[in-house]
Amino acid sequence: MGQTVIEIKGITKAYRKTTVVDNFNLLVEKGHICGLIGPNGAGKTTIMKILAGLTRADSGEISFFSGREPIDACRSKMSFMIEAPIIDYEMTAYDNLAYLRYVKGYPDMGRIDEVLELVGLENTGKKKCRKFSLGMRQRLGIAMALLAKPEILVLDEPVNGLDPEGISDVRAMLKRLVEESKATILISSHLLSELSELCTDFTFINHGKVIESLSAEELRVRCRNFISLRTNDINRTAEVLKDRLAIRDFSVCHGDIIHIFEQIDNIERISKAVTDSGLIITLLYEEGQSLEEYYLKKVADMNEKADKG
């Protein structure tokens, strides 16, 4: 296990009588891109505001960089983009970045032009931000988050308002940031599809609680398609799969059902080989779900539990 750079332990936050974050736990390792996925109102923004210091948690603990330094001191090595980009609309894109450079005490003036070019706003010149489109404001928000080369980047729905090309650009930009500077990113979205190609880890959240935390690899395994097969003799069926069809990637579930993860397109060939061996097939079908379906099912299951409770 790598170095933990963000640790959230049992954070709870309530506004009046509504609990928006409920005993929330999260670990993010250095160099990882962690996706915080949840429907609108799940508590993602509140968690990020607590990390940024913009809201106080009622209980629980947070620590950055394994707790080596006080939380506030760590924040100078982090960047946040929470809710809408924080921009002075009466300033130009350059001025907004220059202002932030002073706040963060970042020494390199040349970095401003660098990030403006990176997000495609290098030609905005003296245009005030109030004349920017939603997409341009979003791009400027991302540029401001990237300005001081942060070690940890916390982004709340950063691709909101961007066109497909913009979304792809942001993904590429963030991947490059992680590869080049080993930065760690915590990114939220209500759409898993937006982050599925980007994140190394996922945490699903609903009603302020963690539904599930898993790695991208684990998620892919859980979502991949497979063939379910049940026969009158499960051991002989396994031999047939290995010897006659050269299938290695399968597993036996519940004692009598085999899940086959290879040759999914050859369901007829598998059926023929099994019956030719004198076995009787009692169940044979293909199943699986997309990432989005998996996530929506998890959310629906949690809502159902909450309703029953």
Binding site: I50, A52, G53, L54, T55, R56, P70, I71, D72, A73, C74, R75, S76, M78, S79, F80, I86, I87, D88, Y89, E90, M91, T92, D95, A98, Y99, L100, Y102, V103, K104, G105
Partner: protein, 235 residues
């Protein structure tokens, strides 16, 4: 704290001409006594013009700070882990230096040009009164965190100025309440122009400044600490 001061100056220069408004309204405040009385002017006229003059300057200060919160750019200071003390003191440094340079110094120079009397006490005591009013405006803006927060210092001016003006023009007999009113900055200002300065009066000016500023500082700090998870120690 240096970086916060630099950042605030940068914002004032580049955002909506904030700095121009602060300078313009401060200089307008300095020239206010001349608008009332032309160039035949003395210490008493200066003293009666200061309350309105400083009001112009401080409203621009309140609006400039309020805009910082309205645009949410103040959140960057929190997200960078700045301490509440650094944020509050940096605002005090920035706006004190602006009001000092563009209101207090021109006012003092003009007073010395147009009044040949011994004005050293007057100039020093006016500085304390101006600082008291400035700090009040800055702290109120930090507590309210909106441009509308500038309305409270304005309301204070109106409440304090009315009895002070009526008293100075002789339309209202407040001789019984005089020693009480001497604690209030606008009344202090008008009294400085008309009265011989006594030690108890000087003490009231100094003590009023210290107590009000300390209390407002504590309120501003508590407001910051409650709203945001800010650092309590200096950076």
């Amino acid at each position: 704290m240096k970086k916060l001061i630099r950042a605030e100056f940068y914002r004032l220069i580049h955002s909506s001409h904030c700095l121009i408004y602060v300078i313009g309204l401060s200089l307008l405040g300095v020239l206010f006594p001349f608008m009332q009385n032309g160039f035949i002017i003395n210490r008493q006229v200066f003293a009666s013009g200061i309350p309105t003059g400083i009001m112009f300057a401080l409203i621009s200060v309140g609006i400039s700070i309020g805009r910082h919160y309205k645009s949410r750019t103040a959140c960057y200071e929190i997200m960078d882990g700045a301490s509440a003390h650094s944020i509050i003191i940096s605002r005090i440094v920035v706006y004190t230096s602006l009001i000092f340079v563009f209101y207090y110094i021109p006012l003092s120079v003009l007073l010395m040009i147009f009044d040949n009397g011994d004005n050293l006490y007057f100039i020093l005591l006016v500085l304390i009164i101006i600082l008291r009013l400035l700090f009040f405006t800055v702290f109120v803006s930090l507590i309210f965190k909106t441009a509308e927060g500038a309305a409270l210092p304005f309301a204070r001016f109106l409440i304090e100025m009315l009895p002070a003006m009526l008293y100075s023009t002789g339309e209202l007999d407040l001789s019984d309440a005089e020693s009480f009113l001497e604690w209030y900055p606008l009344f202090q200002c008008l009294s400085l122009g008309t009265k011989t300065v006594e030690n108890t009066f000087i003490l009231k000016i100094i003590i009023g400044f210290v107590i009000e500023s300390a209390v407002m500082y504590v309120f501003a700090y508590i407001s910051y600490s409650r709203k945001w998870n800010v650092r309590s120690a200096f950076t």
